[in-house]
Symmetry: C2
Subunit: 343 residues, 2 copies
Amino acid sequence: MTVKVMHWGLGAMGGQMAELIATKKGITSVGAIDLDPNKVGKPLGEIFEGQTNDVKVSDDAKKVLSEEADIVIIATGSFTEEVYPLVEQALNSKKNVICIAEEMAFPAQQQPKLAKQLDELAKENNVTLLGTGINPGFVLDLQIIALTGVCYDVQKIEAARVNDLSPFGPTVMKTQGVGTSVEEFNKGIEDGSIVGHVGFPESMAMVAKSLGWELDEIKETKEPIISNTHRKTKYVEVQPGMVAGCKHIAYGIKDGETVIKMEHPQQVLPETEGIDTGDYINIFGTPEVSMAIKPEIPGGIGTVSVAVNSIANVINAEAGLVTMADLPVPAAIMGDIKDRLKK
Amino acid sequence: MTVKVMHWGLGAMGGQMAELIATKKGITSVGAIDLDPNKVGKPLGEIFEGQTNDVKVSDDAKKVLSEEADIVIIATGSFTEEVYPLVEQALNSKKNVICIAEEMAFPAQQQPKLAKQLDELAKENNVTLLGTGINPGFVLDLQIIALTGVCYDVQKIEAARVNDLSPFGPTVMKTQGVGTSVEEFNKGIEDGSIVGHVGFPESMAMVAKSLGWELDEIKETKEPIISNTHRKTKYVEVQPGMVAGCKHIAYGIKDGETVIKMEHPQQVLPETEGIDTGDYINIFGTPEVSMAIKPEIPGGIGTVSVAVNSIANVINAEAGLVTMADLPVPAAIMGDIKDRLKK
């Protein structure tokens, strides 16, 4: 048996997943759904390195899903409401699903009703549904949970993901407010055009649930990172006094105290102010655990890898909606993925 | 329902587990087996802080195991052959088992026949058997595997656990060769009285299996750490030129090349020579991932925590012999452990 994958969404993330899967043994792409007229009708191999010419990109989801496959990877949006109809359709075709929508990492937090429906739907169809990605899905949740595993008890968790947005283009610059004035930034936060990080409530909820903490409240703040330096990338220029990015912080509050604090300042060229990019986790408990990954795990490669490396875990899992905290850790696939399958 | 635990072995590790469990909700100790005449016959609560006086330590394993419990924690030795009869007896009493013997973290590596028998025995009795601890079980295996999960591919892994043996007493000083001359050290390695770290083959095998690498060979070297400084602890004094500990290194070799290198130099007071203790993992692949936990996760607390925090995962797991790579990550128990149980 070879693991058969269908791709739903062939943008930056979905496309790189198709290319990564093409390099792995025991797994093959058997279907591809996308609405981009530049892709529809073309063989995967014409668009993605190493991919097969036997599969053509289709905009007809129903037709593609009528064929047999083990798993569908959905990479089309960030929000549960947005991807819900796609996930529903894929589950109803009796296929396991991995979805990289940020909110799907723990959909019960912001969409408890939809999460319940998806869980029931997955169970009815005897398949498994996982939401994952680098963050949420790994850095500020799974990695934190694992590190609490070495502790007698935990009083407080502080974690930060400090990255550099330099490689990203105009869209990301806009949604993070890079290059704006402070006034423009504040307006952008108000009207929702500057969004910061999507996924804090999900990461918070995953950590709290795993430990058995009941949070009273999750608070989020988004502030402009005002640059003291001149910062210039291919896509943007930031003068001193202008905004270099968005400092997004989330607080998980229990009995009136912050027990989880997560920071994700996203900006261009933080090193111009002597700031090291990295993923940082500090567990205050017995013992204290202080972890640093420097530089930070890259977001794009990380999301693509975590999703693809979770495929066998999802196929092996019991039916229903699961999170990364319910599955074995993902591992890079260096052999034949079939060796990972239980059945 | 309350999770019922039996303790088999109440030395330093087993005793701390009994104390930790006494602080947690939804779990209770219902049996205790130990051969130490200073403990036999005494109520647990007389020996271990917070424990119950309703359970007396017994040297009659058969009798204790004839009572009902969900899980037995075995903390009596380091080697599979040594703990095998105990594990067998616990499994045959139809109880799940967690064993902290280092070799039991991946018993198939050095004792494939015994591992197969234990797997069959667990399945026959419809219970789960896990070997775990901080290392092997977490630092140089589970943590490495998880970090490869963010990678497209991995060419090489280098990891080190650099610790300070200062808190440990005469037994550990002896087994690591601390305070010996180089000549005595080499003699100790030869006659087996200086052992270094137990668990490299197990960690290597767990990582390799998770990634899908077939190692040709695992090589180990043990060298004296010759001190340049004067080092003095409560239990030992090391003059310059004498041995401060054992530098134990393992190499996982594939197609003639080292693809996994693990170092575990164990010594007293490494900071006298400017060495930072810590757990370090470097994944060479796409992307490169460089992680540091400073100082290192403490061995004793870590082993006790990982074992206790894995209890619900083991009860939830399918029957058979499993490793940490087969289960969800452990998490500190801050709520009621019953909330973690599936059934």
